[in-house]
């Protein structure tokens, strides 16, 4: 058992030396610490599976010294099993050390007297406690045979480097040993385990396919999330709070989670998924024709994620932009304008040197001159807008439980085109639009390859010409790879229209922040390939183009009558509806219905008149039962949809109110009357 390593901390050198010899004779490797600082240093940097801590670690003569016990209580080390050792045992210290804690180990798993007990020497008692702690709490499967990826491509140092890219060579060996312990804990009870391949790489965390085999019987397949302990714990907590759980096809179940001091791992089982054969969406997109990619988008949003969206939906008054800022901040993003402008300037130089793009960065304008044909694009610099919170076109949006980071890596697809989502680190409450814009951004920046900046600009231009999310667009003249990306994006937008409604504004705000977030990944101190620089240029260009569109709405709003920003106003010439400063997209029937009410402001509009003038049905043509059906099926349904679109809170309508037993009334306030006069 040479791998079993114990930190033994005691300020009595002689005692520590002799007791350590007993433990070493039992096959344990003992790392000795003679002070609190040495103990902490070993815990922070060395591979340790158990700690034995003297309670009076600073001063044996001080009855008030409980520094060892305090060390045991520190959150940084709460995943490490510890044994408290003392020459002065007392009930209160036992309570502090051993009292159970939710979802984690207690500060200590055992409490041992240095003096021994019941005829056994102190050394004997300690050795027994250590053996018991290894069996019950450390639980490392020393006999497990692990295959670290194909041809050893996922050996512990490789994985550690993916999780902790900045680790020094000196620390790599210990941290690699700790990661090996993690997998030996995760697959406790199995005889063999194989790591498949890396499915996704996140900041401080990776997702792997993994397979475990008991001594007898069939193997199991998992998707394992492993990385910084805190990040894996957050993901596990979000899984528990937000991910729809169940049984059968498409179910996602957390099988087991384990921790070491620095790492955490959680093994998820995907119902009905042959993990070995499943592809990440990006791979599937590249390998399969457009029609299959479109079918997968359909399955993802109308089946897999539908289970998420069906829960806890509400139209929140909080503007879309506020959520977006939370996303940027949530993952270490920064909105420091000076830093961002430096980043843009650094990028500008790198892109020019690589011959990707000429970028002229002015305080409020970006001029991009593509190397392909010298086309020049001028757009607002998105950085001041992102920092100054000037985007006022930020309508309330449908909120619910979202996956939070749907992209080419977090969606798995099997041979039949069925989808599963993995990676729950960003799952939570928020605008449903988030998942759609996240995937659209991934299509543009991860899946679309081989397209130059001019083609990417054209793709964005055509997408920005859409008036509502369900609209088809012209694909003529695009290269096959861009056309494929466009078709997939149109399908994503069509699914978004079905789920959250056809309005473009919240979608564009989401896209702006997704693109900005991708650009923020650019680090001026690193060198990038030309292809990578094109992607960063696309992200920046995309953000700038979204900005121009949103600003044009913002500017437009300033030119509109007061009721467009303060109340409800219909621009009959452009067939546009504005409610309290946001442009509302309505389907043709919805627009006709609202126009009818708008033409009769503050007046009772009876159901029969609505049927006649909006739906073209004459009362005399109908039998009483048909009238009732008409009212129920058409008028009520369409009024309800209209309220969802125009009312800040559809449950308590302030514009379109019901006149019980008669019909409806569109209530317009003083602002509208002032304008009419």
């Amino acid at each position: 058992m040479t791998q079993a390593t114990i930190l033994f901390a005691d300020n009595d050198r002689d005692f520590l030396g002799t007791r350590s010899e007993f433990l070493e004779a039992e096959g344990y490797t003992v790392l000795k610490a003679y002070s609190l600082e040495e103990a902490r240093d070993i815990l922070d940097h060395r591979r340790v599976q158990l700690a034995i801590l003297d309670i009076r670690l600073t001063d044996d003569t001080d009855a008030g010294d409980i520094s060892g016990l305090e060390l045991a209580q520190e959150a940084a080390y709460n995943s490490l099993p510890k044994i408290m050792l003392t020459g002065f045992p007392n009930v209160e210290a036992v309570r502090i050390a051993l009292r159970p804690v939710v979802n984690q180990l207690p500060p200590a798993v055992d409490y041992v007297s240095k003096k021994g007990e019941e005829g056994r020497s102190g050394a004997e008692v300690l050795i027994e406690a250590v053996k018991q702690a290894f069996a019950e709490h450390v639980r490392i499967n020393w006999d497990l045979r692990i295959r670290w990826g194909q041809q050893g491509g996922l050996l512990p140092p490789v994985l550690v480097s993916l999780i902790y890219p900045d680790l020094t060579r000196k620390r790599l060996a210990d941290r690699s040993g700790e990661l090996e312990d993690l997998f030996r804990k995760l697959f406790h009870g199995y005889s063999h385990a194989t790591l498949g391949r890396v499915l996704a790489r996140r900041q401080g965390r990776i997702l792997l396919s993994a397979f475990s085999y008991p001594a007898q019987g069939p193997g199991q397949q998992f998707v394992v999330s492993c990385g910084h302990r805190a990040k894996v714990e957050t993901e596990r907590d979000r899984y528990g709070s937000f991910v729809p759980q169940g049984v059968g096809e498409k179910s996602i179940n957390l099988e087991k989670s384990v921790e070491t001091i620095h790492f955490g791992a959680a093994a998820y089982r995907l119902g009905g998924c042959v993990v070995e054969e499943a592809l990440a969406l990006t791979e599937f997109y590249h390998q399969q024709p457009t029609a299959r990619a479109l079918a997968v988008i359909e399955d993802l949003f109308s089946s897999t994620l539908r289970l998420w969206y069906e829960r806890a939906q509400e139209k929140r008054p909080q503007p879309m932009e506020a959520f977006c800022r939370e996303w940027l901040g949530a993952d270490g993003g920064t909105l420091d304008q000076t830093a961002l402008e430096k980043r843009v300037a650094g990028f500008s130089q790198a892109a020019l040197a690589a011959g990707v793009v000429g970028l002229d960065c002015l305080p409020h304008k970006l001029v991009l001159c593509s190397s392909e044909g010298g086309a020049e694009f001028s757009y607002p610099n998105p950085m001041p807008y992102l920092c100054e919170e000037r985007i006022t076109v930020s309508p309330p949006t449908l909120c619910g439980i979202t996956h939070g980071r749907v992209d080419g890596e977090s969606v798995l697809v099997d041979r039949t085109g069925q989808t599963w989502t993995v990676d729950f680190g960003m799952a939570g409450l928020g605008p449903l639009v988030r998942d759609f814009v996240s995937l659209e951004t991934s299509v543009k920046l991860d899946m679309l390859v081989g397209a130059g900046l001019t083609q990417r600009h054209e793709l964005e231009r055509r997408l920005l010409a859409m008036h509502h999310l369900g609209e088809e667009i012209d694909l003529e003249g695009m290269s096959p790879e861009v056309e494929k990306a466009l078709q997939v994006i149109i399908r994503i937008r069509s699914q978004a229209a079905d789920t959250i409604g056809p309005e473009m504004e919240p979608y564009l705000v989401g896209l702006l922040f997704c693109a900005a977030r991708r650009f923020f990944d650019y680090q001026p101190e690193l060198r990038y390939t030309k292809g990578e620089l094109v992607i960063f240029a696309h992200a920046l260009l995309s953000a700038a183009m979204m900005c121009r569109k949103l600003v044009s709405w913002e500017d437009r709003l300033h030119e509109l009558p007061a009721q467009a920003s303060e109340s409800l106003w219909i621009d009959a010439d452009n067939r546009e509806v504005w409610v309290e400063g946001r442009r509302v997209t309505l389907p043709p029937l919805g627009f006709r219905l609202l126009q009818y009410f708008y033409d009769h402001p503050n007046q009772l509009c009876e159901r029969l008149d609505i049927a006649k003038h909006v739906f073209g049905v004459e009362h005399s043509d109908l039998r009483p039962a048909e009238v009732e059906l008409m009212e129920k099926d058409q008028i009520n349904t369409n009024v309800s949809r209209l309220r969802k679109a125009i009312e800040p809170n559809p449950s308590y309508p302030k514009y379109l109110v019901t006149v019980h037993g008669s019909g409806y009334k569109l209530v317009l306030g003083d602002v509208n009357r002032r304008d009419e006069s």
Binding site: P89, N90, V91, A93, V94, R95, L98, R99, P100, V101, V102, N103, Q104, L105, P106, V109, D110, Y111, S113, E117, A135, E136, H137, R139, H188, G189
Partner: protein
């Protein structure tokens, strides 16, 4: 409106003044029932309680009683109370899965404070798992 909790006291000690004070204090928090240690398995299989109070002075072995309760897959808080606390017994009851180990106080106020604290805390339940290790479950309000 305050929540009324259900307590099960294991080990009867009618002549013990501390036991009487304990019952009076628990009455403030809800209802209680006293049983002998021989009845503990049967009662917990049939009824649910928020807290099982094991009186160490009125049972043969408090750690053994706690073990028997945890073996039932019972998620109730298990609190051991004693007139003569000792660190070895404390260690043994915690290792058996107890939520807390309290000195039997003669002060109703102190008892109430201790039990309120235990009831307010989300508690973990430690019990052996299928392949020999110890499992630390999330405690909640669901009980036996």
């Amino acid at each position: 409106m305050s929540i009324s909790y259900r307590f099960l006291i294991v080990g009867d000690a009618p002549d013990d003044y501390g036991h009487q004070v304990l019952r009076e204090a628990l009455s403030t928090l809800g209802s209680w029932q006293v049983i002998s240690e021989a009845e503990v398995v049967f009662v917990l299989q049939a009824q649910t309680y928020d807290v099982v109070v094991v009186d160490a002075g009125a049972v043969k072995s408090a750690p053994e009683v706690v073990s028997r309760i945890r073996a039932l897959d019972c998620n109730a808080r298990v609190v051991v109370v004693t007139l003569s606390p000792h660190w070895k017994i404390a260690r043994a009851v915690f290792r058996a899965g107890a939520t807390d180990y309290l000195s039997k106080s003669l002060s109703k106020t102190e008892i109430l404070a201790n039990f309120r604290s235990i009831l307010e805390r989300r508690v973990a339940v430690v019990r052996p798992d299928a392949d020999g290790g110890m499992r630390n479950d999330t405690g909640n309000d669901s009980v036996c």
